[in-house]
């Protein structure tokens, strides 16, 4: 069975003045129609870079050095700019973290939405406006007709993020990549936005790649999860399983760090040290200096993703 999106052995490098450094080292995952995947990791792990590289948004000095990205059966990692533009924002949409930065403050919402539609579809302005209205209703914005004539600064953060989601829906994409969509929002609004995204994926049969550091959000909304560390995917499997019985020591430590998972008053499980920067990745397993299960082989040989049972793949010699 062919997947909607298939990423194989993706390697992304950055050409810096003292040499090329590897930001993403052999990442691979799949996404089917209507499936929701979480790309989880802390800052610097490479999850945003992975998301951007799917639609070739990596700008110099970054470049894809190896690997393939198949979307609807076609290899898109080698697409030219013109070909990519037909996909980006059209078949694969992206939502970013800060809605104020994504929306142009000097144009009305309606103008920006109509502009987006007209860029990808040959319809009249009136038809474009009708589509915009329809999508605003889909994201459950109150008084959608009025919103079209309002400016971004007149709306709250939660509303702006809904509008961003509406904009990404305008062209009925097959996949939405959401990069930390709720990090800047309050908890109550966050819950509503995540619910909305989940509903939309179910009704519109859209794929969702959710990039975030928030394990809580990921465990509520996604069906599959890929945990990234220092540019590699170190655990990959069904969300329920990974969260309940994580395999890789990093994932275990990460889940144990969350205050909600340990009884109050007790020390949180803390992983000593920090994630290495891309220029200082240790030999063998990148996590080994911080790992309590470390053995000699961990400092010599880099582990690869292997089936560890329960549908989980993990890159660890010890488990």
């Amino acid at each position: 069975m062919s997947h909607l999106l298939e990423v194989n052995d993706l390697e992304v490098k950055f050409a810096l003045r003292f040499g090329d450094i590897t930001a993403i080292d052999g990442a691979g995952f799949t996404l089917d129609k209507g499936e929701r995947l979480g790309l989880v990791g802390e800052s610097g792990a490479g999850k945003s870079v992975t998301g951007f590289s799917i639609i070739n948004l990596i700008s110099k000095p970054g470049y894809i050095s190896r690997g393939s990205i198949f979307f609807e059966g076609k290899e898109i990692s080698t697409y030219s700019d013109a070909q990519m533009r037909k996909i980006r924002g059209n078949r694969i949409s992206m939502i970013f973290q800060d809605p104020m930065m994504t929306l142009n403050p000097v144009f009305t919402i309606g103008y920006q939405m109509v502009e987006t539609v007209l860029a990808h579809r040959k319809v009249s302005k009136a038809q474009a406006r009708a589509i915009a209205l329809e999508k605003l209703k889909k994201v459950q914005i109150p008084s959608p007709e009025e919103r079209l004539d309002q400016y971004p600064h007149e709306l709250s953060g939660g509303m702006r993020q809904r509008i961003i989601i509406a904009i990404s829906l305008l062209v009925d994409p097959a996949i939405i990549i959401a990069d930390e969509p709720t990090t800047a929002l309050d908890v109550t609004i966050q819950a509503e936005i995540m619910d909305l995204l989940q509903e939309l994926c179910e009704t519109e049969k859209m794929g969702l790649i959710l990039i975030t550091h928030d394990l809580g959000v990921v465990s509520q909304v996604t069906e599959k999860i890929a945990v990234m560390y220092a540019g590699k995917i170190i655990e990959y499997g069904p969300t329920d399983q990974v969260v309940k019985s994580p395999v890789h020591p990093y994932t275990t430590g990460l889940i144990g760090s969350i205050p909600g998972s340990i009884p109050p008053g007790e020390d949180l499980k803390q992983i000593p040290g920090m994630m290495p920067t891309l220029t200082n990745i240790p030999e063998g397993c990148a996590f080994n200096p911080r790992c309590e299960l470390r053995q000699d082989i961990c400092t010599q040989k880099t582990p690869v993703l292997e089936d560890k049972g329960n549908g989980i793949m993990a890159a660890c010699h010890m488990k």
């Binding site: 802390e42 819950a191 969260v243 144990g256 205050p259 499980k269």
Partner: protein, 340 residues
Amino acid sequence: MNTEQPLVTMDNVVKHFDISGGLLDQLSFSGGKFELEKTTVKAVNNVSLFVNKGETLSVVGESGCGKSTLARVIMGLYPPNSGEVRYGGERIDNLTHGQWMPFRKKMQMIFQDPYASLNPRKTVRQTLEEPLRFHNPGMTGAEAGDKIADVMEKVGVDPAWITRYPHEFSGGQRQRISIARGLILDPQFIVADEPVSALDVSIQAQILNLLMELREEMDLTYLFITHDLSVVHHISSRVAVLYLGTLCELASAHDLFYEPRHPYTRALLSAIPRVGEKKAKHIKLKGEVPTPVNLPTGCVFHGRCVYADERCSREVPELRELDNGGFVACHGVEEGRVME
């Protein structure tokens, strides 16, 4: 119940910010004549709290609820418009710069942004030495050096690195240095304004553990400001929930999490995504968060509350004590309308 006097008290504190701008900004033309419109951000509205010695009081709420302003009023960075703040029984909200000095040694603050809270042009040594020498002019360089090394070890940063600049450290390390700065005067009371919100999850755990250790080791009292309820549950003794500058509920951590009373507290708790649990359908709040500029009449929460009635839109509810020692400001709870 602690019969000792609370360490810090706030009584009916009000803090509004006038953002009306100049004369021309205020001028507006409506109904056929010119009017002067004043725009005020009502950040803190009649909040009364107390913090007992040795406890950790967390103040939670979403953006715009006034918790950061509250922290700064307590620390004397903003004078309140009305109300009183006391430390150890003495009033501190109306002091001059000079009168604040003895209190500055006892009350310190840790900030949210590890990147902006350290002066980028000062080495760690300079940053830590400044408060020390300022408050202890007789101290020699050697004594200062010892004290600095001591506090750096307490927070887990190698004392050999004191000649480095902030940008040479990671976010977590910078936050540790910030904490060191807060501790170097041996304070009794620390206000922590979202100290872990800007950090990665695994670093958060390290810093939270550190804060809990230091509390025991140095016998500190914390006022912890945050929006992250799971953090709150983990480290607090009592919790205060703020909404639009108004105190909704004040209870022990246990009671707040297992028996929340105020409708806003309940909605807030239900919205937290919990790892590994399939959540119960979260309580949907109606409408959007109003801004602190245009406060609703009556109870600030009534516009979004599913239990609101006519009285709620008219009358501001008072803070009432409950049987379990907690406090709630809600007509619905008072009248028994809010279901379990």
